[in-house]
Symmetry: C2
Subunit: 212 residues, 2 copies
C-alpha cells in the first residue's frame, strides 16, 4: 500500500454522502482511502440494495471494475473523506518494472477475495447475533491496525447499512445491539460502541447453540 501511494498520487476530497463512483461508469482508476471511510453497494433493478463493503484508511476500492472496465457498484462516502486516485493502466505499466509492486497488488486482490469468502460464510451460515459479533470484531481489528482503540469507537454507518451488509433488517440489528448490551458484552450509545468483554464477544461469533 505505501508503495502504491508513492507511485501515483492525485488526491481527491469527497464529502459525506457523495459518490466516489457510480455503477456503470467507465473504469480507469482505483482509489486508495487516505482519510475517512466509504461504503460500496450494488443496486438491483427491483430496487433492492446490498452493501458489499466498508472501506477505511489504506484500503483499496475499484478492484471489481477491472474485469469489465466498468464500475460494478456505487461507492459513497460515509463521512468527509479523501482518496488517492490510482490510474490502473499506469499501475500495470509500472508493475512491469517493479515485480514486488505487482506481487503486492496480487496479494491485495487476493485478500479481497478471502474477505468476500468470509462474508459469504457469515451470510450463509450465521445467526443475527453471530453476524453482528463478527462484524464488530472485524471493525475493532481494523481500528487497532490504524492505531485506534480496539474497544471504543464510533460507527460511521447507520443500522440500515450494517443490516444490508449483514443480510439483516435494521430492526434486527438494533435488537442484536441491545441484546449484547443487556448481556454486558458491549455498551451502545447510538453510534458510539464500547466493547467490555472481548472474549465473550468472540464466543458469540462461534456458536449460538452452545447456550452462551
Amino acid at each position: 500500500m505505501e508503495i502504491l501511494g508513492d507511485v501515483v498520487s492525485n488526491k481527491r476530497k469527497i464529502q459525506r454522502g457523495d459518490y466516489l463512483h457510480r455503477t456503470g461508469t467507465r473504469f480507469q482508476t482505483l482509489f486508495a482511502v487516505r482519510r475517512g471511510s466509504l461504503k460500496t453497494s450494488v443496486l438491483e433493478e427491483d430496487g433492492r440494495q446490498q452493501v458489499t463493503g466498508f472501506y477505511m484508511t489504506g484500503e483499496l476500492l475499484g478492484l471489481d471494475a477491472i474485469s469489465t472496465e466498468i464500475y460494478t457498484c456505487d461507492a459513497i462516502a460515509l463521512e468527509d473523506s479523501e482518496v488517492c486516485e490510482v490510474p490502473f493502466a499506469k499501475l500495470e505499466e509500472i508493475s512491469l518494472s517493479i515485480p514486488s509492486l505487482m506481487h503486492q497488488f496480487h496479494k491485495i486482490m487476493s485478500r479481497e477475495i478471502v474477505r468476500d469468502h468470509g462474508v459469504m460464510l457469515l451470510l450463509g451460515s450465521m445467526k443475527a447475533e453471530e453476524r453482528l459479533a463478527t462484524f464488530l470484531l472485524n471493525l475493532s481489528q481494523r481500528f487497532v491496525i490504524r492505531g485506534y482503540s480496539a474497544s471504543d469507537f464510533n460507527l460511521r454507518m447507520t443500522r440500515e447499512e450494517i443490516g444490508s451488509y449483514l443480510g439483516l433488517k435494521l430492526e434486527t440489528v438494533s435488537r442484536a445491539f441491545s441484546k449484547l448490551q443487556d448481556e454486558n458484552i458491549i455498551n451502545v450509545d447510538n453510534k458510539h460502541i464500547q466493547i467490555n468483554d472481548m472474549d465473550r464477544l468472540r464466543l458469540k461469533m462461534g456458536h449460538s447453540s452452545c447456550a452462551a
Copy 2:
C-alpha cells in the same frame, strides 16, 4: 485462459471426492480446470461448512491463497476431473515480459471478486426460490459457454452442497426444486434438470413479491 494453459502445464488427474488442495497447506500453484468440476468450501472450528464456489472447465482455483500463501479453503472434485497446475511464481515471472498475460490475469481475479459480490447479494437479500432460480440460470449460462445445452443438464453436486452454497438447508432446496417443477418452469429428475421456461425462471430471480 488459453494463454495461461500454454504458458505452464503440468496436468494432474483427480478422482471424484478427492482433495485437490486442503485448507492450511502451503500455496504454490493455481489450478485451471481442464475437465470435470470441483467445489471449494471453508470449514469453521465448530464444524460449520460453507461451499464457496463450484468450478468447471476453464475456471481457475486458488486465487484466495495468494494473499497468505496458504490455501484458505478445501477444493474437492465433484466428479473425476483433470486440472492443470499453474505455478504462481512462474506466472508472475512470465507476466513481467508478457503484459497482456498480466492484464488478463488481473481481469480473472477481478471477475472472481464480482462473482463473490453477486453471491453476497444473493445470500443477503434473496428468498429461497429466487436463490435457486439464480443458481440454475448461472449454471445454464456456464454450460452454454462451454457448448452444452442451456436447458438440459446434469447437476454434479448434491442438494446439500447447493444448499450450503445458497445458504439454505437441503430440504429447502428440494422443496424449491419441487415448487419450480409444479409451476412447470423446470423438470427435475434427481440430478437431471430441464428448463422449460427460461423467461419465467428469470422472473423468479427478480421479485418474489410480485405474485408470479
